[in-house]
C-alpha cells in the first residue's frame, strides 16, 4: 500500500529521514529504520572533519525548530565506517549526503563516495559555506546548480538528488537547471533562513546569530516549493520540510512528492514519529478509499486544472 520506487530503488514506505537529524552514526540511522522510516539520509559530510559551531546550535518550540549546527561531521573517511556499519545492521536504502565549499570539492567527494554502499547520493547545495567561484550561494545560482550537477554526474554511477534551498523566488527554475544537467531527483527543501532573540538575554539564542528554520513553520513554504517544482520538472521529488503528521505527508504527495523527508518531527513527536506518521497515512488512505500512493501523487494539480473532478 505504501511502497514506492524512486530512481530504481525500492522503499517500503515514503518516509525518509532528512539529512542532519540522527544521521551521524550507522547505529543511530539503524534505529530510525527500526522506528518505521522507509529510508535514511546520513548527515552531510565534507572532505575534512568539522567541529561545527559552539552551542546553542539548536532551539525548538511548538511552532518552529531553528538550527545552526555548522555542518559538523567527522569527514568522509570516518563517515565511510558509519555507512558500512549501517549496511551491516540494515537492508533499508541509505541516501548519502555531501557538501563542499567549491565545485572541485564536490567532485572529489562524489568520486570518493561513489565506492561506498549508498543507494542514492544527495548533493547539499544549500550550504552556507560557499567558495568564491560563484557570485551567489550555490543553491541560489542556476549556473552553479547546472555546473555542479554535471560535474558530479560524470564522477558517479549512483543516482543523484540535488538538495535545494527555499530561500529563493525561483526554486522551479533551479530544479529545471538541475534536471537539464542530469540530476535524477530533487530534494527540497532545506531550512529557511531565520533567527531567534532571547528577550531576557537581550541577544540571539544561536551562537551563530542566525540559522535555518524547520518544523511546522516551514511546512506551507515547503509545500508550495514542491507544488511549483512538480509543474516544472519530470524527475521525482523528495518533498521535505515541516512534515509532522500523516496529513502533512499526504499533502506533500498530492503536491507531487515521490518520497517525503522527515526531520524535525523527531523533536515534535519522538523517534517513533515515523511509525506514527505511516499509521496516520494508512488510516487516511483507508477512510478516503486511496489504494496506493501513485493514485494521488500530484493530484492537487489535476483538481486545479480539471474543474470536472468531483469529490464524493
Amino acid at each position: 500500500m505504501l511502497d514506492v520506487t524512486l530512481c530504481g530503488v525500492q522503499f517500503q514506505n515514503p518516509l525518509v529521514l532528512a539529512s542532519g537529524i540522527l544521521g551521524l552514526t550507522g547505529a543511530g540511522m539503524y534505529r530510525v529504520i527500526e522506528s518505521g522510516a522507509g529510508a535514511v539520509t546520513m548527515k552531510s559530510v565534507s572532505e575534512q572533519e568539522r567541529p561545527g559551531h559552539p552551542n546553542p546550535t539548536m532551539v525548538g518550540n511548538q511552532t518552529y525548530f531553528l538550527n545552526a549546527v555548522g555542518l559538523s561531521n567527522p569527514g568522509i573517511e570516518e563517515a565511510k565506517k558509519e555507512i558500512e556499519h549501517f549496511k551491516q545492521l540494515s537492508h533499508a536504502p541509505l541516501i548519502g549526503s555531501i557538501f563542499a565549499g567549491t565545485r572541485d570539492g564536490f567532485v572529489r567527494l562524489a568520486e570518493h563516495i561513489d565506492e561506498m554502499p549508498i543507494d542514492l547520493l544527495e548533493v547539499n547545495l544549500s550550504c552556507p559555506n560557499v567558495g568564491q567561484e560563484f557570485a551567489e550561494p550555490f543553491a541560489y545560482s542556476k549556473e552553479a546548480v547546472k555546473q555542479i550537477t554535471k560535474d558530479i554526474k560524470e564522477k558517479t554511477k549512483k543516482p543523484i538528488s540535488i538538495k535545494l534551498s527555499p530561500n529563493v523566488w525561483n526554486i522551479a527554475e533551479l530544479a529545471k537547471a538541475a534536471e537539464a544537467a542530469g540530476a535524477d531527483a530533487i530534494t527540497a527543501v532545506n531550512t529557511v533562513s531565520g533567527m531567534a532573540i532571547d528577550v531576557r538575554a537581550r541577544r540571539p539564542i544561536l551562537h551563530n546569530t542566525h540559522g535555518g528554520v524547520s518544523g511546522p513553520a516551514l511546512f506551507p513554504i515547503a509545500l508550495k516549493c514542491v507544488y511549483d517544482m512538480y509543474e516544472a520538472v519530470k524527475i521525482p521529488i523528495i518533498g521535505t520540510g515541516g512534515v509532522t503528521t500523516g496529513e502533512d505527508a499526504l499533502a506533500m504527495i498530492m503536491a507531487g512528492a515521490t518520497l517525503v523527508g522527515v526531520g524535525s518531527a523527531v523533536y515534535y513527536r519522538g523517534e517513533d514519529c515515523f511509525q506514527k506518521i505511516t499509521n496516520e497515512i494508512k488510516d487516511t488512505m483507508n477512510s478516503e478509499g486511496i489504494k496506493n500512493l501513485d493514485e494521488i501523487r500530484g493530484i492537487a494539480h489535476e483538481t486545479m486544472n480539471n474543474k470536472q473532478i468531483t469529490i464524493r
Binding site: G20, I21, L22, G23, L24, T25, G26, A27, G28, M29, Y30, R31, V32, E34, K43, E49, R50, P51, G52, P54, N55, P56, T57, M58, V59, G60, N61, F65, V69, S72, N73, P74, G75, E78, A79, E82, H85, L89, D198, R200, A201, R203, I205, H207, G263, S264, V266, Y267, G270, E271
Partner: protein
C-alpha cells in the same frame, strides 16, 4: 515540565564543595528527578550538559568541575549574574521502594547520586553510599550523605589519604559478597568515570543484581534530534533514552568502556 526555551536564571548562591568543585544554585522549581541534566548556556561562550545535584522542589543546584573553557567561564560568574537553563532532560535513576541501593560515585557523579539518596529517604529503601576519588580533598557529598539515617557511607581514595586505599569498586565487591542484612533485593546505581562504571556493570552481571548507570556522551541538542550521543550498536540516544540506562540496556552498548565520539562524530578510544 521541560523548558526548551532558555530560562534566564540568576545565580542565587555559589558554594564550594571541595578543592575543585563548586555548586551553583538557582531559585527555581525545576521539578527534576535524580540523574536528569540541564543544558547550561553562557551567552557568547557555549551551552553544555550538567547533571542536577540538588533539587528540593524550590531550588536546584549544579555541582561543577572547572575543566575547560565553558566550566571555567562559569566559575568566573558572580552571584546575581544570569545564565540560560534548558531542561530538565533525560531518563533518571529509578527510585524504588524497599530495595537496598549500593550507589557508586566517582568525581562529580556523587552529585546525582547524593540527590538520589535524598529521594530514597521516603521509600523505605536503604543505601550503601560509596564514593571514590583520587585523594581525600576531591571527595564529594560525604558529609551530606552521612546526615541521612537510611544511608551508610563508604569512602575510597587512590592514594589512601582517606578510607579504603584503592578503588571504590573494591568496596562494592565486598558489599555484594556480604549481602545486605535487610535481605532486600540489591540495586547498583553508578555515576562517574566510564571505566569505573564499566567495572560496576561487570559486578552487576557477575552477582546478577539490577543496575542503573549514568553514561555520558558528547551532547549538543539534549532533545534527541542531533544524533551526536547515539551509541553503538543499538543507536539509542543517551540524552533521551539515557543518560541513565539499566543493566540490560548497558549490556547492549558495545562501545561502553571502549570508545566515545567527539564533537565532530569521530571515535576516540578510552
Amino acid at each position: 515540565m521541560r523548558h526548551d526555551s532558555p530560562l534566564m536564571l540568576p545565580i542565587a548562591k555559589v558554594t564550594q564543595e571541595n578543592s575543585s568543585v563548586k555548586t551553583f544554585w538557582f531559585d527555581f522549581a525545576l521539578q527534576s528527578h535524580p540523574g536528569q541534566f540541564v543544558m547550561l548556556w553562557i551567552p557568547g561562550v557555549d551551552q553544555k550538559p550538567f547533571s542536577i545535584a540538588y533539587d528540593d522542589g524550590r531550588r536546584f543546584g549544579l555541582s561543577i568541575f572547572a575543566v575547560g573553557p565553558h566550566s571555567k567561564k562559569l566559575f568566573d560568574h558572580a552571584v546575581g549574574e544570569r545564565v540560560g537553563v534548558t531542561g530538565p532532560y533525560g531518563n533518571p535513576f529509578s527510585v524504588q521502594k524497599n530495595r537496598h541501593y549500593i550507589t557508586v560515585a566517582g568525581g562529580y557523579g556523587a552529585g546525582p547520586l547524593g540527590f538520589l539518596a535524598e529521594r530514597l529517604e521516603e521509600t523505605c529503601s536503604t543505601v550503601d553510599f560509596c564514593i571514590g576519588a583520587r585523594t581525600s580533598d576531591l571527595l564529594l557529598f560525604e558529609k551530606l550523605a552521612k546526615k541521612l539515617s537510611h544511608v551508610t557511607v563508604h569512602v575510597a581514595t587512590d592514594d589512601g589519604s582517606r578510607g579504603h586505599h584503592g578503588y571504590v569498586t573494591d568496596i562494592v565487591r565486598e558489599l555484594l559478597e556480604k549481602k545486605n542484612k535487610q535481605k532486600k533485593d540489591t540495586i547498583l546505581s553508578a555515576c562517574g568515570p566510564e571505566l569505573m562504571e564499566k567495572a560496576v556493570l561487570n559486578l552487576a552481571n557477575e552477582f546478577n543484581v539490577d543496575c542503573d548507570i549514568s553514561i555520558e556522551r558528547y551532547m549538543k541538542c539534549g532533545v534527541g534530534i542531533c544524533g551526536q550521543c547515539c551509541v553503538d550498536d543499538s543507536g539509542i540516544r543517551l540524552c533521551t533514552e539515557g543518560p541513565v540506562v539499566n543493566r540490560k540496556t548497558a549490556n547492549t552498548i558495545v562501545e561502553f568502556g571502549k570508545y566515545h565520539r567527539d564533537k565532530t562524530g569521530k571515535k576516540i578510544d578510552y
